[in-house]
Symmetry: D2
Subunit: 365 residues, 4 copies
């Protein structure tokens, strides 16, 4: 496949540019019988949608998704599900001045080197606008996982610049525009972001995604381990520079006695593994964390070259997120859900007859 598809059995293929006619995609491999309508996808699309607070881009898109196929009488049929989101608020003129020069830290230069041409309007294909399609597809996966398997996929912003949450509450995540799990520090975020916006700068962030209610057995060694596919999926999100599972980079300084998650008949005693052992889910929560860079689309001028190779400067106008990490939470959830859904189907294929030698132990802690 040529780069715009993800998954082996539950496959999302996406198309579309930031300022083209539409973005959309095809979900192939959804089992038949799932109740589905556009409203099921719209919830997550709205969570990702720009302009939900003053802290994200002010581009206005309704991001209304249309389901074009694959559903009959309110249920999926096993046929591919066509998804379409028309673009609406395209101020392409904002981009005319970057037509001949490359924003540093952006994909402008590499796209033009690779393809000899680029759709510079809003970043074209490299724009994070494309992730709306992933969110729509991921919503289908989330619904199936929740209804058929009792798996819940959730995420939250776990760090913004140097700010860490001081407490953790899943319910709080839905209450503020940052997907932030700690009510006490929301004001800190607002103050910081207001200052950043005035300065015309941007900031990095971290997002954590968690799948609960996991079955054992998802993941296909050697190369299609569950963690490897999660790393692939999350690193494919725009601006992501790092992915870790469970203890992640903290494991470097751990000893074996500390890292290994001991087991008892009542469950695991810890979860440094992030719910994955040998590339296969253990039944514990799958926990992944991703690092998102500060966007390069900022108002502060930077040195660059133009398409003649000459030195110049660039200032990114247009409307951009000062912290792309904020809106990344539903995207990361979607990507995790897509991976789990794909592996669920793969597990069914090969291991239909397996009776585990012991009942799975509880995933406690």
């Amino acid at each position: 496949m040529s780069g715009n598809s993800f998954g082996k059995l539950f496959v999302i293929t996406s198309f579309g540019e930031s300022h083209g006619a539409a973005i959309g995609g095809i979900v192939d491999g959804c089992p038949p019988g799932l109740e589905l309508n556009a409203a099921d996808l719209q919830g997550d699309l709205d969570r990702r949608k720009p302009g939900q607070s003053r802290h994200t881009t002010q581009r206005r898109e309704s991001d209304t998704v249309e389901i074009l196929s694959g559903v009959f009488a309110g249920r999926t049929t096993g046929a591919p599900i066509g998804l379409l989101i028309r673009n609406e608020d395209q101020r392409s003129k904002d981009y005319s001045e970057i037509a001949d020069r490359y924003r540093p830290g952006h994909a402008d230069y590499t796209y033009e080197q690779k393809y000899g041409v680029r759709d510079y309007r809003g970043g074209g294909r490299s724009s994070a606008r494309e992730t709306a399609v992933r969110v729509a597809a991921g919503a289908i996966a989330k619904k199936y996982l929740a209804e058929q398997c009792g798996i819940t996929v959730r995420g939250y912003l776990s760090q913004l610049g140097a700010i860490h949450p001081q407490a953790f509450d899943w319910d709080e995540v839905a209450r503020n525009p940052f997907f932030w799990p700690c009510a006490a520090t929301v004001a800190d975020l607002e103050t910081f972001m207001d200052g950043l916006r005035k300065a015309g700068n941007s900031i990095g962030a971290a997002v954590t995604v968690v799948a609960s209610g996991m079955p054992t057995g998802l993941g296909e060694p050697i190369f299609d381990r569950l963690d490897a596919d999660i790393a692939h999926a999350l690193m494919s999100i725009n601006a992501v520079k790092g992915v870790e599972i469970g203890a992640g980079f903290r494991c470097i300084e751990q000893r074996g006695t500390e890292h290994r998650d001991e087991m008892t008949p009542d469950g695991f005693l810890s979860n440094h593994a992030g719910g994955i052992l040998g590339g296969i889910s253990s039944g514990q929560d799958v926990i992944a964390r991703l690092a998102l860079k500060p966007t390069s689309s900022i108002r502060l001028p930077g040195r660059t070259i133009n398409n003649q190779g000459a030195a110049t400067e660039v200032v990114t106008l247009g409307r951009h997120d000062p912290c792309v990490g904020i809106r990344a939470t539903p995207i990361a959830e979607a990507m995790l859900a897509l991976v789990l859904m794909d592996h669920l189907l793969r597990q069914r294929a090969q291991n239909a007859d397996v009776t585990p030698p012991i009942a799975a132990i509880p995933p406690s802690i």
Copy 2:
């Protein structure tokens, strides 16, 4: 594909268990005309081989690879390359006592839950022994990349527990058994490892891999970005819990003005991106870092359950690496080389006619 293949055009498929008759694999998609013989692979196999110092497992394997096909008159023919490494030093009796119980932090439990059966001898398919095949395949990729494209893939141990290198010298990496780039601190490593071995414990580590001499244009957005495929490849290595590209997790606290790599006609002014922008190589060095957990195969007893679900203890005998990160350096190099080789072929396929609008700028810093 069912999990034991990696790559789309340059494809490695591997087989084999730790204590079976042999491990091996097939490299499909190697361009014809490359000079190749078994000695070209043996160098990296020897770097990965156990028993090279007292700091790694004392299992003795010659790891002699046989090329079974795909080479005629000293050159590759375009046909698939069959690789075979016979297993030699199998002390399977060491493992009889883990036949009925699960080592915590190991794949024992998840394999048995998934498949209903596991080859417990030495970890079976989940053993890092399998990585020898990757190293052999990666050596083919490295040779092609070096000879045909001037791309060099190298790696080093960048952290061991809390010990960091104090200086950096590529030449030093080959001089010590740790792949460590700093002569001054080799003694610290030895002391630490000797203590660890006596204690029967294990430790985590970090490895950094670097590709130099990169062309622009490798990587296929959206899902097959170069960084996403690298994350997939590196996370698929046993014991890896995190992967980062360029600035990686440090980008969380960076501002856009700091992170973006400004460009001049003489090249980039920094490389926080790790050589990849928008999922496509920029011509700068590709830099990735991976975190490896402390192995769970240690002599210190841990709580676990047996295959009846009852509480018990386990002590891992057999011969194991107290720091699996050490021998991971050639494995990580191999995986990076496999990704680059695959993307090189993909880039040729789709962009054969592209003349970049400007000559690529130098990749300086």
Copy 3:
């Protein structure tokens, strides 16, 4: 992938049902720089379109295709090309009476057995309406092959029932509604089809597709031989029951001295191979022939069962082609073009450096 994608590097993924909101697809892997607009696709869509003569279904669809992405300033960008064709003339009520019974020889029964549900309106996903998407995608491939490589893909109806052409003229193919290469026998076809239509029956047919201007070297042994992929592609067309290459089934009674195509410095002396040797194109015309069954959607009653398993009869109303082979010509051309395009890219990937040992000999008969 889950069944609705075709190709490895030039990939078409399709969606849509006969009576849903729309059909469409995504072409992923088109090289950048190709001049492209919707009119380039419309020509072949119009050739396939129903209602072009009294001999095909009277369903009226404008089959207007919209290109949603992947084209900028009149040229492809290397990004995926989204294609959309809205459905228009959906008389779904025609199908209410087959909602609870299975048309013999149709996919009704198997879809319902497989998925537990089917969109019975016009055959849903199993309708040949879906092939419009293939024709649109194939037109992109045809254009690239013609403009960049000098490869021409053409087809014609080579048999209808027991009627064979008496002469052969490529120009004639475009002059009659049958894609028939023989002016002298067009009247025979008309007479036969008029009688068939009155009788309410249907008839089988054969289509032949030819690629001229072929380079040597396309095709990837062992499993992805050019002929194997062509067989796959053509057999995937609705109603196709057989595919042959070159001499095809006639080779059964041939001796080696007759079948082998001898070679001279001026070219081959025959083309029983159909332009493919060992799965790789020889430079001669690639010639494939496909057999299409008589459609099962006919007015004459047939015995069947209903969805309670009881015996009943079915009569297919709705508007149907009495010979689906007629409109299959542009579809078969499209599928052949898709295969060639995919293999062209694959050939570039792996053999970029190859200089053939001798210049290719001319492909003369």
Copy 4:
């Protein structure tokens, strides 16, 4: 994938040349728990093996297969199964005289044009020797299909030159060296073949393969229809020039009333469809027929060119089958079994929860 793999979930990847060290492959995706040992594969390997009668090549190979991995305690583990067959009777000197010239009708010319090099010893990778690996892999699929699903895959020679069987008896197929279903005409075959061998010529043939005990629901529309994958699989066998399903090319002259297989509560009334409707298995026998060309490796001189492009003649020495169709029967069975196995796993993946609306009707003719 690069051409040497087949299947999506049950995947065979093969390697090896006719006169290299070994041929072999990897079967990835075999469900765990299947009893398996080398003897299970040897039966079919012996059926395909050369030198079983005077009517096939006199090359002597024991074709002993070794299972290198994926089996533990007599059962498959879910890990990839490595297969190895050492080459033994390599008289490579027989081939020195075709090193510089191309056998007409053979892959010599196209391999050299594609790759710039070819292993001319015995045809190298293009030799039918490679099919031994497919037979070994197919035997695993056959065993699983038979034991777990009650599906039987069988084949027979259905035509040799102009000779057709006069009667049909499955039991007879195993009693003669031709896989011929008609005792009365075996002598005709022997006489014909003796004459052909003396003349130094070769002849085409047809093989029919049948899967009985089929479940409904195998096959993934649109592109991965069961018939499309079967066509792909069978056309990938050396020397095959045509594939048909059920009525095949005979459908061209059929009317809809004749071709459609009417249904009753007691089953289908005919099987022109060959057990596949809309690309999905109907529960009837799957029936496919393939045409095999007369081999080009004959003693009678033919005009050709050498690798300087000059006119010359070629005579093929070495030891060859005068009718490659004879030994193709177990190969075609293997390919059909591989397709069915793959689709069985795919069906399980996506449709695990489906309860068909009616119980499948019996498959009676």
